[in-house]
């Protein structure tokens, strides 16, 4: 194991998959000559050439659709959105064409495509550039959605996504690109299956269910809670769809108390689905009402103080945990 950044981990995943399979190519805005708006594709143009690392004009609908078409005949495109906020311009391709094709063609055409890029609020980018898209994409049958929070998960999940025979969205965490973590050495194949959560910290009093940018937040809060003798178990979903019900239920059966901390909006958010499944399946295991900490239900304001007020934070999470623990 060695310590690398989330950005480097993604870069390694791309390079390894490009190296392994000649059908894989990377396409998007500024991915080649500029090395990626967030430098995730640093060095790939030099290594794999312009045939496989392809700059596009600002035409999300066009190049997302190009990827879907290329996938119909067996290529395995990796389409980078500079941010998933811009994927909304390509919503028709991501929602209508990629996941429907397999059904509409009676199983003749599967679409092995990866859509990836930063997702979720960053810092003072305002309403149009701060979308957390996981809940709307996860609601579409035929799509798979993962949300890595650590460099190891970023590498392992992206590699798995590229090999998957379905459209997979890898929603990277914009604020975590420079974060560091331990990852297996490059000569060791690292594949993390979709639909498998991971307990990032064991605990016994309360399950904090989180993903993406809320994972480091939950871990930080868990450390604070420890000082107050509350033992929080941190369950990182890693994939939103498929959802690892078993991991959630196992943890809840142990702690009997749940807080879900999510980076999307509360209305029809990821936490709503998780909450439903817990009460539907293991109602008797719950000792307190399940709480959710999410964004406030408003378009993201630019003002820094207001932005902070919109986002989940340590105070909100601490308060929610104490409430479910009646502490």
């Amino acid at each position: 194991m060695r310590e690398i950044t989330y950005r480097q981990a993604l870069n390694e995943a791309l390079a390894e998959e490009l190296e392994r399979d000649p059908n894989v190519f990377l396409m998007g805005e500024e991915v080649a000559e500029y090395h990626g708006a967030y430098k995730v594709s640093q060095g790939l143009l030099e290594r794999f050439g312009p045939r496989r690392i392809i700059d596009t004009p600002i035409s999300e609908n066009g190049f997302a659709g190009l990827g879907v078409g290329a996938a119909m005949v067996g290529l395995r495109p990796i389409i980078e959105f500079m941010t998933f906020s811009f994927s909304l311009v390509a919503f028709d391709q991501v929602v209508n064409n990629a996941p429907n094709m397999f059904t509409m063609s009676g199983g003749q055409f599967n679409i092995p495509i990866t859509f990836r890029g930063p997702n979720g609020p960053a810092h003072q980018l305002g309403a149009t550039h701060s979308h957390a898209t996981e809940n709307f994409y996860a609601s579409v049958p035929g799509l798979k959605v993962c949300t890595p929070a650590t460099p190891r998960d970023a590498k392992g999940l992206l590699k798995t996504a590229v090999r998957d025979n379905n459209p997979v969205l890898v929603l990277e965490a914009e604020l975590l690109y420079s974060s560091k973590g331990m990852v297996e050495p490059p000569d060791e194949e690292l594949l993390i299956p979709l639909g498998k959560a991971e307990v990032k910290r064991e605990g016994s009093d309360v399950s904090v269910i989180c993903y993406a940018q809320t994972v480091p937040l939950a871990l930080k809060v868990a450390a604070q809670l420890e000082e107050e003798d509350i033992s929080a178990e941190i369950v990182d979903l890693r994939s939103i769809k498929p959802l690892d019900e078993k991991a959630i239920f196992d943890s809840v059966a142990k702690t009997h108390r749940v807080v879900i901390v999510e980076q999307d909006h509360p209305f029809c958010g990821v936490g709503a689905e998780v909450c439903y499944r817990i009460q539907r399946n293991i109602f008797d295991e719950i000792d307190a009402p399940i709480l959710r900490v999410s964004q406030e239900d408003v378009p993201m304001p630019y003002n820094e103080r207001l932005e902070k007020a919109v986002l989940p934070n340590a105070d909100k999470l601490l308060a929610a945990v104490k409430q479910v623990c009646y502490a």
């Binding site: 190049f63 659709g65 078409g69 996938a71 290529l75 397999f102 509409m104 599967n110 379905n166």
Partner: protein, 328 residues
């Protein structure tokens, strides 16, 4: 359809036979729709037969074709059986998309027919992706992308044309201009005097072709495809055609006059090719009648086949969402 060798042309009588099959199929589809055997939306191709027949006659069987929702003819032209097409309209498991696609989503992977796409303009980027794959693999295929005059004002169309020109992809954009996007005439939808000028904005060579004339469509597309195979580039063809029926089964087409329709009927693409072949001594009246009889029989048989075919099983409802059978 037989595989073509370089320089060889498809038999014109065979292509006339295809046009007849398309027409008889659509007539019967219309009847079955009215009898409520066919659900959803149903858009008929009657009047436009020479467009797909001419274009397909100009390319190889391994070239890619993709179209919008008026797609029955394109599937038939690519050798999908009338049985599989009619069964799809009936929503049966034996349909060309297992009854899961319906009228607007016909596919035939084996014969390189890539749909069947129902969001106007949304398949044009897909077509560019097919062409991208051809160039990526250094193959000499081409992609024929069919769409209607309604598609040319969608953003996806413009983005796709720009990408195709930028990457010099082997694709022919074939605009089947039947003068109406649903009920809106081209004059009321498009700022240009002629649609072909859209191509000029992307530095893509464009041509106007008479879509009621099989030979003109075939020869022009063949010439373009020949040029593309020599050196990869996109091209645009505005094919001027006319649909005899409304936009879909539910449209009485009251936005146009009987006179206009009659004018086009006089220029019918099947009558025209038949006359050309008869004049040249390549087809007798008896032969034509036999072809037509066969088409009618084939289509009638397809209705029986569709009627008798099983429904897609409910137990398999979740089998066609993910390619790996995942059930999240």
């Amino acid at each position: 359809m037989t595989a073509m060798q370089p320089g060889e042309q498809r038999d014109e009588v065979e292509m006339l036979s295809l046009m007849l099959l398309i027409r008889r199929f659509e007539e019967r589809a219309s009847q079955q729709y009215q009898a409520q055997k066919v659900g959803g939306f149903c858009h008929l191709y009657i009047g436009q037969e020479a467009v797909v027949a001419g274009a397909v006659a100009a390319v190889r069987d391994d070239d890619y074709i993709i179209t919008a929702y008026r797609d029955h003819a394109h599937a038939l032209a690519r050798g999908t059986s009338a049985n599989a097409c009619m069964a799809e309209l009936f929503g049966k498991e034996t349909g060309c998309s297992r009854g899961l696609g319906g009228s607007m989503h016909f596919f035939n992977r084996q014969n390189h027919m890539y749909g069947g796409h129902a969001i106007v303009g949304a398949h044009v980027p897909l077509a560019v992706g097919l062409a991208f794959a051809i160039k990526y693999r250094d193959e000499d295929r081409v992609t024929l992308c069919f769409f209607g005059d309604g598609a040319i004002n969608q953003g996806s169309f413009h983005e796709a044309l720009n990408l195709a020109a930028l990457y010099k992809l082997p694709i022919v954009f074939i605009c089947e201009n039947n003068l109406f996007a649903m009920g809106t005439s081209v004059k009321r939808s498009t700022s240009l005097k002629q649609i072909v000028d859209r191509a000029e904005g992307y530095d893509i060579p464009g041509e106007i072709v008479d879509g009621m004339n099989f030979r003109e469509v075939r020869d022009k597309v063949a010439e373009i495809v020949d040029s593309i195979r020599k050196e990869s580039h996109p091209a645009f063809v505005e094919v001027r055609t006319y649909r005899y029926r409304g936009h879909s089964m539910s449209d009485p087409a009251s936005y146009r006059t009987k006179l206009e329709l009659e004018k086009y009927r006089l220029d019918d693409p099947i009558t025209r090719l038949r006359a050309q072949l008869t004049r040249e001594g390549k087809l007798t009246n008896e032969q034509f009648d036999l072809l037509d009889k066969r088409s009618k029989e084939m289509v009638l048989a397809s209705v029986k086949f569709a009627e008798a075919s099983p429904q897609p099983p409910i137990e398999k409802l979740h089998d066609f969402t993910y390619a790996d059978g995942a059930k999240p």
